[in-house]
């Protein structure tokens, strides 16, 4: 191998190592997130705080959510984050729907899409009734 070619290969190798190391570090730097505040493992709310047909907004595991007391079907907890582009849906007691103010996505009280651009239903958060309490999570 000629000296000139050898030097070119060494230069390319060193440049590749430098570039690769920098890009790798940069990607890790961007993706790594600072530690967040402790997430709520379980949330307890008293049943009588939410009359039939009413709803209560909560924060569960750093995500805005809503508990709805459906007149016939009882309590359900849904994420309020619209599956379209992340705005927060609002419970509309008159229409019995959850409506996104950004792009007019409409969901029924099970979280299913009724109208608008959202691609999938709202996330259902598991809950159980324990006596007079609603235990979420």
């Amino acid at each position: 191998m000629k000296r000139r070619r050898f030097l070119k290969i060494v230069l390319a190798f060193l440049a590749s190592i430098t570039l690769l190391s920098f890009v790798y570090s940069l990607l890790k730097f961007l993706v790594a997130l600072p530690a967040r505040t402790a997430e709520t493992k379980k949330l307890i709310i008293r049943k009588n705080e939410i009359p039939s047909g009413d709803a209560k907004d909560i924060i569960f595991r750093n995500t805005p959510a809503v508990i709805i007391n459906r007149p016939d079907k009882g309590f359900i907890a849904l994420s309020r984050v619209c599956t379209h582009l992340g705005c927060l849906v609002e419970y509309n007691p008159v229409k019995q729907r959850l409506i996104c103010p950004c792009h007019a996505g409409n969901f029924d009280l099970e979280g299913n899409v009724l109208a608008g651009p959202p691609p999938k239903p709202l996330t259902v958060i598991p809950l159980r009734i324990d006596g007079e309490n609603i235990v979420i999570g």
Binding site: V31, L33, P34, P101, C102, H103, P118
Partner: protein
């Protein structure tokens, strides 16, 4: 005094030679029109943004607990803080307007055609960076408007399977818009975008100088007639000198730009400040009337109308990509858009659609 300074500079850096060769001997085509000044105007607009942005940095605090308050203090307590912020906000909207008008007029005059494909690409990327400037600056006041507009825009990549979610996570620094997002957007707005923009602008200006100003707005220029086999700079030997003919046009336009800016600041101070822009961000309450800035209203409305998120965002990404590479797609030699009915029709259709979507998005 002035003569002494001039002589001092001349013997050291050849000032007279620079003035003679770069300004007086620099010729511009005789049929040049006022629209040719829009590129210069975009540079002036950027300079105004850079200056007022640096001034605002003195009092702005990029933290969710303080950002809104610090901006309110700039507006109400710091002497003339309101003026510099208004100049920055109004200027950002005017800058995008000027850049869009520049691209439209270049398109209509066919000046993107060979050998200026790279000049168009550089300008197009600069326009995208300008919009990114506007979008990243939108979050900084930490208002309801800025918070939710950023939530929507940073959720857009999630339309793409596999890569979408990681991209959104990197943009926001987590699942939601938080203080990490504010830090990132602040860094983007004041440290990452300015040098990038200057680099693109530098390439754009270098190419304009290297290739020469396009000769004729309409018809087939001699560059289009000859086979493109070797580099040749376009020189307008029979044209007007840059100074004072074109320089005067540029100064008129610069003063018109500043007059429009100060007219808006004085008589329409709330034009770019809807109600939500004066309410601190609440991450748990999306306002009922959330709308992005006017230049994003058309894509925003299109997203509302197209039921499939992936399709809605993909169609817009394809349109942007097509806009950037248009000179490589349109290799037809005729520059005169009046002699190209199909292109003219498509352009008018897209322009009308954009205006309709803009007003629809504003009023829906």
């Amino acid at each position: 005094m002035w003569t002494k300074i001039k002589t001092w500079l001349d013997v050291r850096i050849g000032l007279d030679d620079i003035i003679q060769t770069k300004i007086i001997d620099y010729r511009i085509p005789k049929n040049i029109n006022i629209f040719y000044t829009l590129g210069f105007l975009a540079v002036i607009a950027y300079a105004v943004q850079a200056l007022t942005g640096i001034i605002l940095l003195i009092y702005y605090i990029p933290h969710p607990d303080h950002a809104f308050r610090s901006v309110q203090d700039i507006m109400t307590k710091v002497p003339y803080g309101w003026l510099f912020r208004q100049m920055h906000v109004v200027g950002s909207n005017l800058m995008i307007t000027v850049a869009v008008l520049h691209m439209i007029t270049v398109f209509l005059m066919g000046n993107y055609k060979r050998p200026r494909e790279l000049t168009w690409l550089g300008g197009g990327l600069s326009l995208l960076l300008t919009i990114t400037f506007g979008f990243s600056g939108y979050l900084l006041p930490w208002t309801q408007l800025s918070y939710w507009a950023t939530t929507v825009v940073t959720s857009m990549p999630t339309a793409f399977p596999l890569i979408g979610e990681p991209i959104a996570q990197v943009l926001r620094g987590g699942d939601h818009v938080t203080e990490i997002t504010l830090s990132r957007f602040f860094a983007l707005h004041v440290a990452i975008l300015p040098p990038l923009f200057l680099a693109f602008m530098g390439i754009h200006l270098f190419l304009i100088n290297r290739i020469g100003i396009s000769a004729t707005p309409f018809g087939i220029a001699d560059e289009e007639k000859r086979p493109l086999t070797e580099y040749k700079r376009k020189i307008h030997a029979d044209g007007y000198p840059y100074y004072p003919v074109f320089f005067q046009k540029q100064m008129y336009m610069m003063m018109a730009y500043l007059a429009v800016m100060f007219f808006i600041i004085t008589f329409l101070p709330n034009l770019f400040f809807p109600e939500e822009a004066n309410i601190p961000a609440d991450p748990f309450k999306t306002p009922a009337q959330i709308r992005p800035a006017w230049y994003l209203l058309a894509p925003y409305q299109l997203l509302k109308l197209i039921p499939n998120k992936f399709f809605g965002i993909t169609i817009q990404a394809v349109l942007v990509a097509l806009f950037l590479v248009w000179p490589f797609v349109d290799t037809y030699r005729e520059k005169n858009v009046l002699k190209r009915p199909v292109l003219r029709g498509v352009f008018i259709f897209l322009l009308v659609m954009w205006v309709v979507l803009l007003f629809w998005g504003r009023n829906s």
